[in-house]
Symmetry: D2
Subunit: 284 residues, 4 copies
Amino acid sequence: MNKAILIVQCPDQQGIVAAVSDFLYQNGGNILEVDQYVDQEAKRFFMRASWDLDSFSLKKEEISNRFSQEVAKEFEMDFTLHFNQPKTRMAIFVSKQSHCLFDILSRHHSGQLEVEIPLVISNHDHLRDVVEAFNIPFHHIPVSRETKAHAESEQLRLLEEANVDFVVLARYMQIVSPDFISHFPDRIINIHHSFLPAFVGAKPYHAAFERGVKIIGATAHYVTEELDAGPIIEQEVARVRHHNNVADLVQIGQDVEKVVLSRAIKSHLDRKVTVFKNRTIIFY
Amino acid sequence: MNKAILIVQCPDQQGIVAAVSDFLYQNGGNILEVDQYVDQEAKRFFMRASWDLDSFSLKKEEISNRFSQEVAKEFEMDFTLHFNQPKTRMAIFVSKQSHCLFDILSRHHSGQLEVEIPLVISNHDHLRDVVEAFNIPFHHIPVSRETKAHAESEQLRLLEEANVDFVVLARYMQIVSPDFISHFPDRIINIHHSFLPAFVGAKPYHAAFERGVKIIGATAHYVTEELDAGPIIEQEVARVRHHNNVADLVQIGQDVEKVVLSRAIKSHLDRKVTVFKNRTIIFY
Amino acid sequence: MNKAILIVQCPDQQGIVAAVSDFLYQNGGNILEVDQYVDQEAKRFFMRASWDLDSFSLKKEEISNRFSQEVAKEFEMDFTLHFNQPKTRMAIFVSKQSHCLFDILSRHHSGQLEVEIPLVISNHDHLRDVVEAFNIPFHHIPVSRETKAHAESEQLRLLEEANVDFVVLARYMQIVSPDFISHFPDRIINIHHSFLPAFVGAKPYHAAFERGVKIIGATAHYVTEELDAGPIIEQEVARVRHHNNVADLVQIGQDVEKVVLSRAIKSHLDRKVTVFKNRTIIFY
Amino acid sequence: MNKAILIVQCPDQQGIVAAVSDFLYQNGGNILEVDQYVDQEAKRFFMRASWDLDSFSLKKEEISNRFSQEVAKEFEMDFTLHFNQPKTRMAIFVSKQSHCLFDILSRHHSGQLEVEIPLVISNHDHLRDVVEAFNIPFHHIPVSRETKAHAESEQLRLLEEANVDFVVLARYMQIVSPDFISHFPDRIINIHHSFLPAFVGAKPYHAAFERGVKIIGATAHYVTEELDAGPIIEQEVARVRHHNNVADLVQIGQDVEKVVLSRAIKSHLDRKVTVFKNRTIIFY
């Protein structure tokens, strides 16, 4: 199905749902989904609506302009408009660990993720074989303290060439620079292997073991300049026991990491995520 | 806050969201929540909207009529209209087990449940003391095979006298008759101590133990004529191990039962549940 | 059943299980449960064994001495010996919130918790009625900055009079002093309303909301001098969404708090918890 | 580490733990894990113990005989003895769906599963490329009603040639014959895509949708002659909502299936599963 998705946020007031739904109705739009949320404290309104483009009387190219004129201006809306065709293009960054990468590739292979994966970039060459077995180009760009700036410019060049929409750090294990982030605001998804805000930074499973927690977790979030502090998209947990050592936590955690990251990618692809004040609204 | 809640279902077509939201907007309604769902297979549309009554230009008494004339007829809608004031009135039926009853009374006591509880009815006298400690009238109506019809008519008389809106069977352990059910269609909530449709009927924990399941559950559902087959409102589960005997399952299960039942009551009270084809739609 | 429970820890070496189980066997002990754990890094051995006292040839009074002579000395064991009769005596401290208290009283009432509750102590008088409805003495001891030392000495006096074995802080909302703690080492259980170590200290639900987490939690731990840093006994979590405000988190969290606290109490009562290096071993 | 694992079951009586642990101690065995369970109703004792072989004074070949003579006979024990070296050999049967297969191969690739996978057998040729990319032989053996007996004999020949210890049906979608099962008693693991005993047989996600359940699940079990009725090894669940159609349930369920199956394989490989009266004991 040819689908349009509209994400809106604006100061809360009466008549917003009516105005948006009337705009869609007047142009023949068959609403597929609508979800709205009001942040009562901030007095801010958020809405996501999707509709079938086939019966819609406006051309794709003119929707944004018309909506802006006829609805958005009056309500001082920030809005973004998305289409499910052509498919979104996603780059994957990995290091040596394969569990998140394989999980994504496996879902892509089975048709579960509606996305193009034009390339995988890694600072190590370890996972080349499997990536290429899935017929996806693999780029090995080593990163050291000295070469980091140069490596990032090479990465950015590849991402631009491949016309990439967003980036997934699938246990990439490198901190990306503010400059890099600025090219993909709210469009770099990282998986952190702890239940944030617990255990920010390196070696969270060691820290979890030391603290003696009974449940570990993983967190998918958009990358911002502050480490592990960006808007949280998804979290999940798993129960552990005293007899689980650090190596056990790593293994149990991997199952959590991969499912959390895949859910976050899915929500992002379905345009169900919007950000306000470093928090995410996840539409249904 | 003085709130109105509208639940709608009708054949799916374009313009429904626009029509409903426009009706609310034209009458000064500040939409608080709106959630909609389309059953694509049945081509049926469902919607729940709530709005602030204080700024609404229609009187409570005229809303139903006006909505019927101006919107519902055109779209062949079935709809119900609810208000959060005055509070809904709930009767609780119990037998000897106290865990679900105490959980409900405790939530009511702390203000978590916006409901009046004018009475508790039981076929045993065991729980009178605690119920009365919470200042709620307790009625002991013994039930035997011979007296069942008479007991039910006595129950119905009490429910009518107390102007009860809906009934919660909090581990009542008695099968209620089709006649009794017909007085409260989709308004009797039962908690069944299994993960339905597994282990229908009596002694589900024994059956779960025999089958060697690794997870047990509980199910809150509306009561219909067929035993344990009514529309499911909520389910939850808990993990068990081989070393848990039937008595352990009973105890672990009680924690699940009470939380499931309380969530179902909350959803029902918030008018977030509607039924179609023996399945529930649970709005957000 | 008349049951003895032995908890042992010592440097790891060969023959410990054999020595303990042989001691029990030679004295006619029918082993009911045995669970052991070796901390491979610390080279430390932990074991819990329980057996039926009725067929045991040693008197309760002499077991400890005989075990010490015949087994513990050789293996440099720290051990504790417990009996399920007479019942352990537990004091509950509360403030104004009732959800954890009611949950404990309800389990006690239904026979789920094998414990005596000789008293409830509170810094407010709010919950007197319900506590007394369960026939448990309620002591109101107001606490202010100025009267805190005096209040604690009064609390300690009551606990001593009542011959209390351990204390449960069921959302007591007051920080207890190091002196108070020293009277009950690893015998004061607190429920903290966050997923520790995230959100230590006051107002964790506010902090969780601000951070935009997708899952909240609660943690039961033994109280030590450092705030919210004692050995964790149990944790549990619940999923939340962007549309849940702080008040919602409080309500969702209460269901988690009460189940976590009750599980921790159960584990403590069953003598299934032992502490090593600020972490708990939870035996099966 | 060179490890031996002993699984024992016998009528319950005093002295079993002492006898087994003494046997190990006398022969220099450093016990790594010991877990025991008594089925109080059946008066049956179960135990799993593992120990380090390097310091053990008996040769691998003589342990079974010596244990039988010195311990097992007296207590009428059924026992099995396992070693972690050489690695267990596992065959995977698949059909067209890849999610469980990829998950297993990915865990194997990352070293998480200590197992040899000498072959994958499928009734379709769809997944050959990926299997071979992981350097595992792939055998396509078509199965129709007419050719089934012949196909099974071909499968059995391959399994024997490859010296396979156990078989995993990773969404194989074919019913295997009693004769086939008899070659691998309690050594064929199947993943069923429902929360058994709910929704036995074909199309469980359709049935779950029809019934309107709020939670779906998956079950890993040993295959026995009666369909989907064998001893359950592991179960897990996932929450669904009314707006999830059958295709959604399939997708959500796949994440559950793969994690359940992998956990069951891990438990089986670690020799932590034993069967009694169609129920499993899962040791720690």
